[in-house]
């Protein structure tokens, strides 16, 4: 009873706080000064990315993104450590065969999903999307393939190599920004091109490709680790 009233007090208190927040929010009629800096013409033309969110994520706040990628890497490593495959002979749990509909559909859908993921990664500086989203789409294609074929073997070695190489390249691109341009992760190390074309925005497409590879292989690794554990029980 005491515990329940505590919960009620916490929830009602938060409700009061939130309602005052909503009450005092008046909506925006113009951008604040920080957003005006990011959206004024000379800064758009300096970065040359049509997707302003990508410009913020990869260039202005690229260091944040590096931290984010590190956190994802840390998560994948911890999960791999926890679900390490036991060395004893693996007695496989009998998994029911997947239905024909799922198997057939996955044969058609998995390549299309991977292609769509690649499309989202490559167009990250032009349209809504980018490395994280495309990587997640590729990983969900892996999940579908795994659902259709529960005994599929993942090549963890390949994923690990891919992930390490793309992570190192990401940091090297950042350091190249210090040497050849204005600072860490500056995208002007490559020619800017014209706003809105596929080859533009300097280093942003390259960095997004590395992020996409890294995120895709990390998430696929997590899924593969979970699959190994499921087969062991």
């Amino acid at each position: 009873m005491v515990r329940n009233s505590f919960r009620l007090i916490i929830l009602v208190g938060l409700l009061v706080i939130f309602s005052t927040l909503v009450w005092s929010f008046n909506g925006n009629n113009e951008l604040n000064s920080l957003a005006q800096f990011y959206t004024q013409q000379e800064n758009i033309e300096a970065v040359n990315a049509a997707n302003l969110v990508s410009a913020v994520v990869v260039t202005y706040r690229g260091f944040d993104t590096l931290g984010e990628v590190t956190i994802l890497f840390l998560t994948a490593s911890i999960i791999g450590f926890f679900l390490k495959k036991k060395l004893s002979d693996t007695q496989r749990k009998e998994v029911r065969e997947s239905s024909d509909i799922l198997v057939t559909a996955s044969k058609i859908l998995v390549p299309v999903m991977i292609l769509f993921g690649v499309y989202v990664i490559i167009n990250g500086h032009l349209t809504p999307g980018g490395g994280f989203q495309g990587g997640a789409i590729i990983a969900s294609a892996m999940v579908l393939a795994l659902l259709a074929n529960p005994h599929m073997k993942f090549n963890h070695q390949l994923f690990n190599v891919l992930e390490s190489i793309s992570g190192v390249s990401f940091v090297l691109m950042g350091i190249a920004g210090i040497v050849y341009a204005g600072g860490f992760l500056d995208n002007r190390i490559l020619p800017g091109g014209e706003v809105g074309t596929l080859i533009s925005a300097g280093a942003i497409p390259l960095i997004y490709i590395f992020i996409g590879l890294k995120v895709g292989s990390e998430l696929s690794n997590i899924v593969g680790n979970l699959q190994v554990t499921q087969n062991e029980q």
């Binding site: 909503v22 959206t39 302003l52 969110v53 913020v56 994520v57 944040d64 998560t75 979970l226």
Partner: protein, 118 residues
């Protein structure tokens, strides 16, 4: 428009917190955390909204010269992108911990994990 999404977001936060505080099953607690997360993302995006604004992407509809008057604030969008990825990592970790707890005790009820209770 922004009020609807902001109120929805805050209600989702409260709903998720209620789930975390009252549920007994670990999987349900994790679902509560996810709903909490989603609510916060919706609130952040609603703060970014500008009346009459459009998505911060330069194309035929939004010229480079007039972007400053037409687009919404891109910064909260970038922050939400970060927050979604971190939320994914946290959820995956919580699910793996739940898996390990289940392997130890063969149950997911939170009351049965009382080894450190005194």
């Amino acid at each position: 428009m922004e009020y609807i999404s902001m109120i929805t977001g805050f209600l989702l936060v409260l709903l998720g917190l209620w789930g975390v505080l009252t549920q007994k099953n670990i999987i349900k607690i994790i679902i509560g955390f996810s709903i909490f997360d989603t609510g916060l993302h919706i609130v952040l995006v609603s703060i970014a909204y500008l009346r009459g604004g459009t998505a911060p992407v330069i194309d035929k509809a939004v010229k480079v010269t007039e972007a400053i008057e037409k687009v919404v604030d891109p910064v909260p969008h970038a922050l939400v992108l970060t927050a979604i990825v971190i939320g994914l990592g946290v959820t995956a970790l919580m699910l793996v911990y739940a898996l390990k707890l289940y392997q130890n005790k063969k149950t997911l009820e939170v009351q049965s994990f009382n080894d450190l209770k005194w």
